[in-house]
Symmetry: D3
Subunit: 250 residues, 6 copies
Amino acid sequence: MLLHLSTWMEIEDYLKRSKTVVIPIGSNEQHGPTGLLGTDWLCPEIIAHEAQKQHPDLMVAPTFNIGMAQHHLGFPGTIALRPSTFMAAIGDWCRSLGLAGFERLYFLNGHGGNVATVEAAFSEIYAEATFLEKRRGFAMKLKNWWELKGVLPLANRQFPTGHGSHATPSEIAVTQWAYPDAIKTANYAPQIAPTGPIREAIDFRARYPDGRMGSDPGQATPEKGGELVAAAVAGLMDDVAAFSSETAPI
Amino acid sequence: MLLHLSTWMEIEDYLKRSKTVVIPIGSNEQHGPTGLLGTDWLCPEIIAHEAQKQHPDLMVAPTFNIGMAQHHLGFPGTIALRPSTFMAAIGDWCRSLGLAGFERLYFLNGHGGNVATVEAAFSEIYAEATFLEKRRGFAMKLKNWWELKGVLPLANRQFPTGHGSHATPSEIAVTQWAYPDAIKTANYAPQIAPTGPIREAIDFRARYPDGRMGSDPGQATPEKGGELVAAAVAGLMDDVAAFSSETAPI
Amino acid sequence: MLLHLSTWMEIEDYLKRSKTVVIPIGSNEQHGPTGLLGTDWLCPEIIAHEAQKQHPDLMVAPTFNIGMAQHHLGFPGTIALRPSTFMAAIGDWCRSLGLAGFERLYFLNGHGGNVATVEAAFSEIYAEATFLEKRRGFAMKLKNWWELKGVLPLANRQFPTGHGSHATPSEIAVTQWAYPDAIKTANYAPQIAPTGPIREAIDFRARYPDGRMGSDPGQATPEKGGELVAAAVAGLMDDVAAFSSETAPI
Amino acid sequence: MLLHLSTWMEIEDYLKRSKTVVIPIGSNEQHGPTGLLGTDWLCPEIIAHEAQKQHPDLMVAPTFNIGMAQHHLGFPGTIALRPSTFMAAIGDWCRSLGLAGFERLYFLNGHGGNVATVEAAFSEIYAEATFLEKRRGFAMKLKNWWELKGVLPLANRQFPTGHGSHATPSEIAVTQWAYPDAIKTANYAPQIAPTGPIREAIDFRARYPDGRMGSDPGQATPEKGGELVAAAVAGLMDDVAAFSSETAPI
Amino acid sequence: MLLHLSTWMEIEDYLKRSKTVVIPIGSNEQHGPTGLLGTDWLCPEIIAHEAQKQHPDLMVAPTFNIGMAQHHLGFPGTIALRPSTFMAAIGDWCRSLGLAGFERLYFLNGHGGNVATVEAAFSEIYAEATFLEKRRGFAMKLKNWWELKGVLPLANRQFPTGHGSHATPSEIAVTQWAYPDAIKTANYAPQIAPTGPIREAIDFRARYPDGRMGSDPGQATPEKGGELVAAAVAGLMDDVAAFSSETAPI
Amino acid sequence: MLLHLSTWMEIEDYLKRSKTVVIPIGSNEQHGPTGLLGTDWLCPEIIAHEAQKQHPDLMVAPTFNIGMAQHHLGFPGTIALRPSTFMAAIGDWCRSLGLAGFERLYFLNGHGGNVATVEAAFSEIYAEATFLEKRRGFAMKLKNWWELKGVLPLANRQFPTGHGSHATPSEIAVTQWAYPDAIKTANYAPQIAPTGPIREAIDFRARYPDGRMGSDPGQATPEKGGELVAAAVAGLMDDVAAFSSETAPI
Ligand code: NI
Ligand code: NI
Ligand code: NI
Ligand code: NI
Ligand code: NI
Ligand code: NI
């Protein structure tokens, strides 16, 4: 079920048989000369929606589409939440879902830059219960889609060089598979982008002039994207099942 | 252009010819026995994307899909930001778009409950500039889609009684037009829901047991939804043009 | 009763017979060449205190005298809270009055620019209860004094043209009636001020050089002010009675 | 000049000859069986307005009437800001007055419980400039009215025993002088209230059942209040003059 | 016991016989040409650790080593928390210790600039309970080490002139006693530093070019420091005992 | 140099030859039946101070001794900052050091639970500059001491089984080496503690009854601790040198 295409009564029924919800989360940020600005939220949405299509009873929430991308703000089209804002928003999403009765909140993430802040947000949400000497009532998990079982090995076979860490051929391939009308091309110079640290936006743009980090996105194809989605869907179903069956200590 | 299906270089080019961006904004909240939880963010997204399809150079940002819906949290599936969180998030969206060079940020809204908080957010954003004795550099506008020229008169003709204020037949018709596979039916009792004030969630659910306020959503049809979208698209293009051509005082 | 001229024991007694309190709220901001800086908090205070004089058992709290006036900060004498500060303060006022046992908090407002932020504050206060799955224990209402029954029709008769939206002849007339020693005069150029949007302070002062918006305050007289106060007092008593008698759902 | 009974143009003129403004600040909180809830904000307002009457060119801002009174919230009629809210509000008042061109912000305080939080607020406001490596542009000072030159010695002569620290005969005398129609009487038991520490509200009410701390307010008379006001006015004018003539280092 | 050199099981045992903990708190800030940057947190740590050495069952927490020192930030090596940050941190320390079962939190302070903010923090922490209509469960106290019984009279005998208020010979003597290898010397010009108000950092450095306020630190010796520590330890034990034996009202 | 045992003039001199400062950071939290509550801040302090002893010109700041340990709050003696507080404090430390002229802020970390929040804090600090379209002026780096070159391989040789992730024999060995008088013993049951996820405090204590996670701390000896410190010091000097010599893009 897509939560946003359901009624509240359908959710009420669903909660009688499952307490788990999958929330695609990402970022809207520059992805080099050919990557879509939406890449990082589109990828987990594509994977989660494809999983739901194959497994209709998987509950998928609306996509959390803006994340921690302050370093990309030197490139137009990027939209970013500062970490404190991001944490407040994650908190309210989770508390809302917890009020409804969801007990397993599974965030399928598409942006490495989100990880620290989302984990900090989880700690903030747990801490609220801790300081009240209460149980939280729900558990949260964040998983990067490329870390789902089987995905990274496949990507490494597909792209033995030039995978890099931002505007990677694998994430661009996934969006090409889902949005074939939005495939872009460019000459990359250099073919494989430089690597280095991540700091404030001015520093970032000076280090990475076209926005890529360590990647050669020219290797992406819709077919490879389809393979990645297939692997990710399988990995997601396994991981969600494991999380759903976890038991809390008494 | 859909911003999220564009590259940063395409946005850079766009900004040479226009400084305006349309941001669909809404809420994910219960909409009675048959309304989709996503109704309030789907409606402005449907209208803005349809407008973009007809007018390809309209710039449409990703959808801001969670809003001020605390009063609906007694119904599962609702996700809400508290106003302070909402304002922080609106602030970071606007500052991000402003950094990119956008000067006219037009929020097309699908949820009446958002209005006060979004207007307060705008004031907070302007105040930041005011206290620094600077110009803000961009202007913001919020418009409810049903207040676009021609829409409400049409809705009143379509639904002379039982339009109400929440889970209205007009908004449900719009989603029926766009998502015909997700049309739901129910017996409404009473046919037209009660009206009254909006307070905390427990109070709300006690007053409005099935979630509707003053409405009879059973009158919605996909055809009426299509008419509403057509009217809204025309009204949107006019209103965006007026906003874009507004000049700032020297 | 004026709350601040009462003892806590008198309040304790009052709460045995009524749960309602009226809080005048406004702003301290420029009001054109002749309007008092305090106009927006003086008007509701004048009306509420006059009502209390006529109806001694009406409970009137101290005046909340600074509001959302960031756009006026280009003119000296303006004092403004940014919306986030304003919301925090409204929250603490309301929680304090709620702790005391007040169940109906009626804000009589004198500044249009306060409305969005105060409504957002109310939502924040309700949301606190909602996220704790509790009842709030009190209800809040905001009413602009010019929207009390009978006031705006009277103002329209008194000032068929040049009423405008800021530094209006009606609000200035009210202060003239109450503070006849502080009546100011000026030549207005133009006689009726321009209108337009409200943004940051620099933009505001450029659009509205003497501070007025759409108004000709030269039409104000103390007599008209007295008539307005009389109408407002009657409207206030009706509205407060209706709010006080409202019942909460079980 | 009373700022709120002036126009922005009058303030603009005033700023050509002086950069100083006096802001009465206090609290609205229980003051024992006979003390007015408004005592702590009425006293500095009474003194500042009397000073302004005698010295018309003294600039007096609207009264900041709600302060740090969390410990009194066990008694109805108390309204309190938590320190974080209070600091945010003080910050916005000061920044607003600073934008206008005021360079000496003199807070005349009526509530001992405000001191720590207001001083912390001043540090927060200075810190904002410090972290930006800028000058603040204005200086702030807080003065308790009973610490103005000559006041405490007079109070000690008037009330050699039973002055205490809350609901003191001196503050009650000042309000009796200004509001003779609101004088209350009661039998005090014990005649002099107990003393001790200040903690949360439940603890406070258990320690101080009628709200007084160490005081016998029965000794207050309007005449003594008048003497105290006269002394305070003289002290205030001296202290404000010294603050106004202070020079900043280059 | 030093809390940080204990195990949680040892703390659990300790709480069966005492509910009191001493927390050294200070600041890391410039202390003139010869004072250590750590002076203000080293002094209370030195005193509390010495007291614990003499009285092994005194519970001493880790040192809170950064405080409210914004005015010193014009001198390198200073590290400061803005008051709002400081208050949040104090709050979390206190809530943590309260969760553990400590009921008397005694802060031994080494920096006058901390007082207002720490007291405001205490009020914020009490207010949290007050607004929930609960008891707080623990009491907090702040004591400057130089105000412990016997200390200031001794310092005045040791340093009849040139004690001053910042970079005082007494605090420097204490650090000389504890860290004899880190004694520094300099020529002071003037021998006794100027005095005046405390504002933002630029203003501070202009008024106090070498960082001292009113002091002649050249009089400090390790021997005098040892005397001061001895006096402070005795005063501390008395004061902690009194605080520990205080009873709460029922 | 230990910053807190230096004067501001010594720091001013140091900044002429280096822009780097090492800040030990950790947490004060339960470490099982035998681990010191201070383990996680003592370890990086021990290593950094030992490095400074060997390399006197290494600049070491005071230790940031309280971190993100909400999950340990079910065990007395733990003191924790919620992530939002932690981030605010890290921010003020970094801004303070940046004002002084430090350009490389190197945090040597002793607590895995700090990583996400500190990284989020860094992003918040960079974002502040990004939204102002400025360079930040300094770079920040966080390094866990056990990830310094050579440390983990050594620990794995020392403790081939039962190293675990909390209350590890390696961290306890380091504190045994530095604080031989505070070595504790206990019977561990089971010898190797269980592993699993980290949630709120109640959940944590139910999963890990004596506080350990996956570890057998009984294998720790002071000698192994000394070896680990030696390796860490070497690794630290290398890593700090690399960070210090990093150049920013123009
Ligand atoms: Ni990406
Ligand atoms: Ni709706
Ligand atoms: Ni007005
Ligand atoms: Ni008082
Ligand atoms: Ni000091
Ligand atoms: Ni550890």
